[in-house]
Structure formats: structure tokens, C-alpha cells
């Protein structure tokens, strides 16, 4: 792999807090190595801003290995930037070339208010999980793990849905700010396992109700969520969610 250095122009959204109005600021960064990660490029810029007595840019990040789901930049019109199935922290600068202009915004959705600059509040996702995204089993109640065999294909499919990192890129990508991919991944993860059976009907209804309450939009099946999901969560999860929801509504005894 050939390495190279580049100069870039960054247009970054700056916003003091959730109440104030924000705006784009332009920054030039020089001698950026193609081996750096996108966030390391921001580290370099922030170090410079601090030295210049300016406010560094606030952004969420933690594991920097694509699994915690904290990082959340909207880069050149796409959540997590140009690479397929990738998070911002794993985006590396070889995705850009010398002279490029890069626009960086926070996730934009009514349910994800901006806290500062590129940092948003995603606790709505936690509240959706609280509404039913679990199996009600207290510690100590479990039978032997192999007492309940699970068909391998179902276990694999369940795992693929459970791989969601809760970053919110699906919401940010969607023109309606819908959280359907997130909700459907959790519903699918648990619906495919026998352990999830007893709460299957209430779970889907309650999670959808909470989703609506949080102010997420409706799904119009554009598929933008699947196209941006860093973990490749399939839109077929939404089909399953719809099926689960319809069945639960029809069969409801309440």
C-alpha cells in the first residue's frame, strides 16, 4: 500500500449547545498521512485549535475499533463517510486525496438533539430497549445452556441482527429519521430465538410505541438505512418487524 500526505479543507458544523444556533466553520489541515484514521485527523486539528486558543471540536468516540457505536459523524452527506459497512473511527484517510473538501455534520434527527458540535443525544435508543428489548429472565433462573438447542441457521441470523452497534447511522441516513432498522434488528434478534418466544407479541408492540413516542419518523422503504449501516444489518429485518407487528396486533388479546 502506497502511503501519501495530503492537504484538506474541512467544513465542520459548530454548535455551542442544544439551544444555540449552529453554523459551518472552515478549517485547513495540512500534511495529513493517508495512514491516519479520520478521527486521528480530527485529533491533529483539535491539538492545533487548542494551541491557537480556539475551542476544539467536540465529537463522540470511544473504542476506535468500530464496535462501541459512539462515533457519529455525517461525512460528505453520508453517515460514517464514504466506505461501505464502516464506522467513522475505522475510516482511514486513504479514502481522500490531496485538495479534497470534506463536509462534516452531526447526526440530524428530531429524536437526536445536538449536545455540542458533532455530539448528539441518542438516549432515545436506550428508552426503546427499556420498552421491551430484552428477555425477562432474572439471574439464576437459567437451565443448562445445551438443554435448549437452537437451529444453527436461526442462531446465525439472530446473531447477524444482534450485531447492531446502536450508533444511529440508520436514523441519520433516513429522510424520515426513522428508527425502524434499529428496532427491527432487536426484534429479529430476540424473535428468532426460542428464549424470546414468551414475550414476542408484547415486545414488538411496546418497542414500536416507544419509537413513535420518541419522535422518530415512519419507514417508507427507501433502503438508505441498510446502505449506510456499518454492520450490514439487512432491511429484511424491517420486513420481519412488520410481520411480527401485524401478527401481534391481530392476535392481541388485550
Amino acid at each position: 500500500m502506497e502511503h501519501y500526505n495530503m492537504n484538506l479543507t474541512l467544513k465542520v458544523w459548530r454548535q455551542e449547545d442544544s439551544q444555540k444556533k449552529g453554523n459551518f466553520e472552515t478549517y485547513k489541515v495540512e500534511n495529513i498521512s493517508s495512514e491516519m484514521s479520520f478521527l486521528e485527523m480530527f485529533d491533529v486539528l483539535n491539538e492545533r485549535l487548542i494551541q491557537e486558543n480556539k475551542e476544539p471540536i467536540a465529537f463522540d468516540h470511544d473504542c476506535r475499533e468500530g464496535i462501541c457505536g459512539a462515533c457519529s459523524m455525517y461525512i460528505d452527506g453520508k453517515p460514517h463517510g464514504p466506505w461501505e459497512q464502516n464506522t467513522t473511527c475505522q475510516l482511514h484517510m486513504r479514502a481522500f486525496k490531496d485538495g479534497d473538501t470534506v463536509v462534516v455534520e452531526p447526526w440530524r434527527a428530531k429524536a437526536f438533539p445536538v449536545i455540542k458540535d458533532l455530539v448528539v443525544d441518542r438516549t432515545a435508543f436506550d428508552r426503546i430497549i427499556q420498552a421491551g428489548g430484552y428477555i425477562s429472565v432474572n439471574t439464576g433462573n437459567a437451565v443448562d445452556a445445551n438443554a435448549l438447542p437452537v437451529e444453527k441457521a436461526k442462531a446465525d441470523e439472530s446473531f447477524a441482527s444482534a450485531a447492531c452497534i446502536g450508533c444511529g447511522a440508520c436514523v441519520a441516513a433516513c429522510k424520515n429519521s426513522s428508527a425502524m432498522l434499529f428496532v427491527s434488528a432487536k426484534v429479529t434478534h430476540l424473535a428468532l430465538l426460542p428464549q424470546g418466544g414468551p414475550e414476542r407479541k408484547t415486545r414488538v408492540v411496546d418497542m414500536i410505541a416507544q419509537m413513535d413516542k420518541e419522535g422518530f419518523g415512519a419507514c417508507t422503504s427507501t433502503g438508505a438505512c441498510e446502505a449506510t449501516c456499518p454492520k450490514g444489518i439487512s432491511i429484511s429485518n424491517i420486513a420481519r418487524l412488520n410481520k411480527e407487528f401485524t401478527l401481534a396486533s391481530l392476535l392481541s388479546e388485550k
Binding site: E40, R64, W83, I135, T139, V143, D156
Partner: protein, 657 residues
């Protein structure tokens, strides 16, 4: 003399005996007792959920925006359990024995045995929660092997086991939040422990969004705040991982156990330049199938593919025929360093070795072709089938390597090098996981307890969940049973006021330094000192220098650090400054501990103490103890020893040959 409160009786009966006789709290009283949990990784989330289920009033805190983001989520390979589903000779005793031996005979027998005992319950609990572990076609759970063992006892979910286990614990926690048993405080950082009349009675926390300080009462406080690998600046830890909660507790009287025991993981992606902010692990599970090698010739600049088989040195297989590529982490890391230092390293930096899957691809390809009845398959067909198998097993890891390095690991061997990964040291705790401050407990990586001087792969997840789900729910009752007579203390109490003032003064002090050096640059300098002088190989000379350099760095930090912004706003630089200030103090203690321990054991390798063939040379006569350090004053600690008594296992020179 430290009392670990180990129950009497034979080793395999201790935990049963303890559970049979510890005090209980009746359900009506549990509702009146408040417990604070700091950190929501595997240990914290499982503890908060389990205690909420029992009916205690729980408050949980994490610095991330959601409890689901704690760094347990990044654990890749798996979780050990003595299930013996493979019928390959595993048992509670074997898991116990492997863990003690892997820890180079520096762990407490009673704790490790309990860990092995509850390991099987963890798998049952996680499956019941809906954790989608890997399964065989018959629908039963699949296992793989990890370093330092000769059985297959590791349960996994592709290369994302930590993620799946944490989401299981997170969901259990969210359920308790929904039920009103747990109150969650995300984007909060604990900055002080409040102690009244010798007992822990609460904390001071800072809301990281508004910058406001808050007082919280608790009859007990559980620190589940993870490890301190970021003292090295570069590590596989998350950027936010820190020692602050544990360090505040240490300065309030909790002893720090074995601070120098650091795990350097052998298979990480090498450093690419000065801009590097963190290092990424390539799971140990890769050593199941990958072979590690360097060229036999020094300074060999040929591409890996151009180096013929007979000119490759599979040094782990050569040095350790019995365990081969699956020797424990400390052994594998030192062996890689030895080869690179001797001039056999690969890549541009020459600080890397190869991890090669070519042979595994062919082996799996042949098996697959056999399964599918393909007669006389061509090399290309075999390779294709083999690649498919490798992809299913390790796909996400290979993708991650590709993204970071820009190299395709299916086509060429990965380059790897050791990196700081885990800290076996931590707050000293007794059998009940209580620190030396009554009412203050420590769970998971934050405590020192179960891994001795080196942790075996897939044991961190096991310990975190064991502590949270199956140990603390029993042991905390033994303390809280006597607390039912004590009403919650008002947070207007003098001790709360005083603690908040101390925190506030310190933050003001930091902000008013207005110096020239950024927090990040000072942290990098600390990391460099630690890595060079308290890293994979330590010497008395280097450590003595390091202590002096760190003291100097501390002076610089407190006179010249530059923090932008203000106190009462979202200010990550200020959060980081507080954490780095604590890392600097911890770094000094780590060097003091490493200097005190005149032997090599596990991850602590002192250059002066090695066998003729370069293995760690223990000194059981003089150092078979846990070093528990009590904070006295700046630069001053007092050493307390917990002597380790091996009643069942006879310590020997570790041998993986």
C-alpha cells in the same frame, strides 16, 4: 497483615460453605438499601442488573452516552467455561488449574476456584438472555481453544463475543431501569468517594454535559470501572478507559494490588506513525489457525510470499512444541519482541511478525471439499472453499485489519506486534470483593483478584460476569445485612460538602493553570516513559529513571497544562485532563511496584531475572505475595503483603514446551 477473609474448609467447598452461611437481607429491607455502581461494562451492568432484580435501589453511572458502549463490548474471542461439552477432559479443577498456572502462581486459589465453579452458570444465564453464541448443526453450542489450555472450553459469537455478552447484560440492566429498580446516569463521571465514620456512604459525580457536580448517597459503592492500560497512552483500550474512579478510591484508603502486572497482548496491529491514537487487537482466537513466523534471515526485505517455507522460522512452534502458537500471551509477546530485537522483524518498521493463514486455508479447503464430495479438487477450488471457512470464522477481524492497514489478509499474512491490552493489577479486594474501605467493592478488571501475573485469553469476560451475576449478589448481602439499621445519610452532611469542595477545587486548579502544553501531549510523554521502562521488559535501572521522569512530568503537568473551554459546559479536554493527572500518579506507583518485585512472573518481566533460555524466573521464597499499596502522601506508599498460600496446587516453573 491483610485479611482476605477466605472461608475455612477444603478449596472446593469454600464457596458452598460461604453461601450457606453468609448473612441475608429480607426483601422488605432490600428496598431500603441503596447501592451505587460505577461503570456499566460486563461487571457493572451485570451487577447493577442482578442487584436490581434482588430489589436493592441501584444507581448506575457511566461516562459514555449509553451503558451499552462500555469497553467490554470490544472483547473479541470468547468466554471460558468449564462445561466439558466437548468431552475432552475439561472440569472445574482444570479451568482452575490452568488459570492459576497461566497467572504464574500469583493469584489467590480460593477466588480462582470460585471463578471456575460459577463459569458454567454464566453460559447458562447468557443463553437464557438470548446471547446468540455460535452453534453446531445439531443446535448445540460450539467451542474453540484459547492460549494456555489444551481443551476446547471457549464459547464465542464470531469475533464479537464481548459485544454479545455486554448487550445481554445491558438489556438486563435496561429492563431493571424500566422496572424502576435501577436509575441510570450516563455521561457522568465519578470523581470522589464519600467516606463517613470509616464506611463508604456515597460519591461525588460530575455531569459531563453540564459540568455540574452531584452528590449521591449509597449504603455501598461498587467500582466496576475497568482497567488502566491507557496509562501507556497507546493500548487496545477505548479512548475513554481510565483509572480515575479506582484512583480516587485508592487515595481514600483502598489499597492498590499488584499495579505493575500488565498484559501485553501478542497479536495487535503494529503502530503506523506518531499520529496513532490507539492500537487494535487481532483476537487471540486467530492463533487457533494462524501460524506465527519471521524470516530465518536477518533484515530480510522480501515479500512474505517470496520467502520459501524452509526459510521461515515458526519460532513459537520451534520453542514450545507442546503448545505451539497457543502459548499464553506473556510468553508469545516476549518471543515476538525477542525476534524483532534480534533483527528478524518484518514490515517497514521491523517491529512486527507475521500471522499467516495460508496453511489453514488449504487445510479447511480440503476438509470442505471432502464434505461436499468434490473429487480431486484443483488448488484453486480448495483455496476458495478454505477461504470461505476462514471468512465465516474470522471475517470481521480480517475486515478490520484490511480497513486499518489497507492490506488484504486473505492474500498476504497479517503483520502483528504486542500491545498493552489488560491490567491484572487493580484495587485489592478480599474474598467478598470488598476493598480495604468498608462498603466499597471492586469488580471485574478494576480489581486485582483472579488472574495473578498474567490473564489467560477468554477469562476477562468470565471474571466480569462471575463477579457481577454470581458473586456480588451474595457477598454484598453480608455487609448490607447490618446496614438495615442505618438510614440514608443526607447529602447535606459535612462529608459530602467537603468531598464536593475538594473535587471543585481540583477542577478549578486545573482550569487556572493556563499553561502551554496540551493534555494529549503530556499523556503521550507519560505513555512513552511507561512503554520503554515499565513495558514488556523492565530493569531496576530503567524503573528508577522512570520514577524520576514521572515525578518531573507531574510537576510539568500541574504547572503547564493547557485546557480550553470552561468548567460548566461539555468539555472533553477537561475530563481528559483529570484522567491523565491520575494516570501520572498511577504510573509512578506501577514503577515502584515493578521495582519492588525482584523477580519475573507472568507479564512482569524483569531483565535481571530470567532462566538461561529466557523464560520468566520467579522467586517464590521472597515474592509469593500480593503487593497491596496504601497511599500515604504524595510520592509515598506503604507496602502491605498478602501472602499466597497454595494448598492444592504446587507451584512449579511454568512449562509450555
Amino acid at each position: 497483615m491483610l485479611d482476605a477473609k477466605i472461608p475455612a474448609g477444603p478449596l472446593d467447598q469454600k464457596w458452598t460453605e460461604y453461601k450457606g452461611h453468609c448473612k441475608l437481607v429480607n426483601p422488605a429491607n432490600k428496598r431500603k438499601l441503596e447501592v451505587i455502581v460505577i461503570g456499566t461494562g460486563l461487571a457493572g451492568a451485570s451487577a447493577a442488573a442482578a442487584l436490581g432484580e434482588l430489589g436493592y435501589k441501584v444507581k448506575a453511572f457511566c461516562f459514555q452516552d449509553s451503558p451499552r458502549r462500555a469497553h467490554s463490548i470490544a472483547a473479541q474471542g470468547g468466554i471460558n467455561a468449564a462445561k466439558n461439552y466437548q468431552n475432552d477432559g475439561d472440569s472445574v479443577f482444570r479451568l482452575f488449574y490452568d488459570t492459576i498456572k497461566g497467572g504464574d502462581y500469583r493469584a489467590r486459589e480460593s477466588n480462582v476456584h470460585r471463578l471456575a465453579e460459577v463459569s458454567a452458570n454464566i453460559i447458562d444465564q447468557c443463553v437464557a438472555q438470548g446471547v446468540p453464541f455460535a452453534r453446531e448443526y445439531g443446535g448445540l453450542l460450539s467451542n474453540r481453544s484459547f492460549g494456555g489450555t489444551q481443551v476446547q472450553r471457549t464459547f464465542y459469537a464470531a469475533g464479537q463475543t464481548g459485544q454479545q455478552l455486554l448487550i445481554g447484560a445491558y438489556q438486563a440492566l435496561e429492563r431493571q431501569i424500566a422496572l424502576g429498580n435501577v436509575t441510570m446516569y450516563s455521561r457522568h463521571e465519578m470523581l470522589e468517594v464519600v467516606v463517613i465514620d470509616g464506611k463508604t456512604r456515597g460519591i461525588i459525580a460530575r455531569d459531563l454535559v453540564t459540568g455540574e457536580l452531584e452528590r449521591h448517597f449509597g449504603h455501598a459503592v461498587l467500582l466496576c470501572s475497568g482497567g488502566y492500560g491507557n496509562v501507556f497512552y497507546l493500548s487496545t483500550n477505548a479512548m475513554g478507559s481510565n483509572v480515575t474512579a479506582a484512583w480516587k478510591a485508592h487515595k481514600k484508603g483502598a489499597y492498590f494490588g499488584n499495579p505493575c502486572y500488565t498484559q501485553i497482548h501478542p497479536t495487535c496491529i503494529p503502530v503506523s506513525g506518531d499520529h496513532q491514537s490507539k492500537l487494535t487487537l487481532m483476537s487471540e482466537s486467530l492463533r487457533n489457525d494462524g501460524r506465527i513466523w519471521v524470516p530465518k534471515k536477518k533484515d530480510d526485505n522480501r515479500k512474505a510470499a517470496d520467502i520459501p517455507e524452509e526459510e521461515r522460522d515458526y519460532y513459537l512452534e520451534r520453542r514450545y512444541p507442546a503448545f505451539g502458537n497457543l502459548v499464553p500471551r506473556d510468553v508469545a509477546s516476549r518471543a515476538a519482541k525477542e525476534r524483532c530485537d534480534a533483527g528478524y522483524g518484518v514490515g517497514t518498521s521491523k517491529q512486527a511478525v507475521y500471522l499467516d493463514f495460508a496453511e489453514a486455508v488449504i487445510r479447511y479447503g480440503k476438509i470442505e471439499c471432502g464434505k461436499q464430495g468434490i473429487d480431486n479438487p484443483s488448488a484453486a477450488v480448495i483455496r476458495q472453499h478454505g477461504l470461505d471457512v476462514v471468512k465465516e470464522k474470522y471475517g470481521n477481524l480480517f475486515d478490520m485489519y484490511d480497513k486499518i492497514t489497507g492490506e488484504n489478509p486473505y492474500e498476504m499474512p497479517m503483520r502483528i506486534y504486542p500491545a498493552v491490552h489488560y491490567t491484572m493489577g487493580g484495587l485489592w479486594v478480599d474474598y467478598e470483593l470488598q476493598t480495604t474501605v468498608p462498603g466499597l467493592y471492586c469488580l471485574g478488571e478494576a480489581n486485582f483478584s483472579d488472574h495473578g501475573a498474567n490473564r489467560l485469553g477468554a477469562s476477562a469476560l468470565m471474571q466480569g460476569l462471575a463477579d457481577g451475576y454470581f458473586v456480588i449478589p451474595y457477598t454484598i448481602g453480608n455487609f448490607l445485612a447490618d446496614e438495615i439499621y442505618n438510614k440514608p445519610v443526607s447529602t447535606d452532611h459535612e462529608a459530602f460538602v467537603q468531598a464536593e469542595k475538594e473535587v471543585s477545587d481540583r477542577i478549578n486548579h486545573l482550569m487556572n493553570i493556563k499553561g502551554k502544553q496540551t493534555v494529549e501531549s503530556l499523556h503521550k510523554r507519560l505513555g512513552k516513559i511507561m512503554w520503554e521502562k515499565c513495558g514488556m521488559e523492565r530493569t531496576a535501572e530503567g524503573l528508577t529513571e522512570a520514577i524520576e521522569e514521572i515525578r518531573q512530568l507531574k510537576k510539568e503537568f500541574w504547572s503547564d497544562v493547557k485546557i480550553p473551554g470552561s468548567i460548566s459546559e461539555f468539555n472533553p479536554e477537561l475530563d481528559k485532563a483529570g484522567r491523565v493527572a491520575d494516570f501520572i500518579e498511577l504510573g509512578e506507583l506501577m514503577c515502584i511496584d515493578a521495582l519492588n518485585r525482584n523477580e519475573s512472573c507472568g507479564g512482569h518481566f524483569r531483565g535481571e531475572y530470567q532462566t538461561p533460555d529466557g523464560e520468566a524466573q520467579r522467586d517464590d521464597a521472597n515474592y509469593m505475595y500480593v503487593a497491596a499499596w496504601q497511599y500515604k502522601a504524595e510520592h509515598e506508599w506503604e507496602l502491605h503483603k498478602e501472602v499466597l498460600n497454595y494448598e492444592v496446587i504446587k507451584p512449579t516453573q511454568r512449562n509450555y514446551k
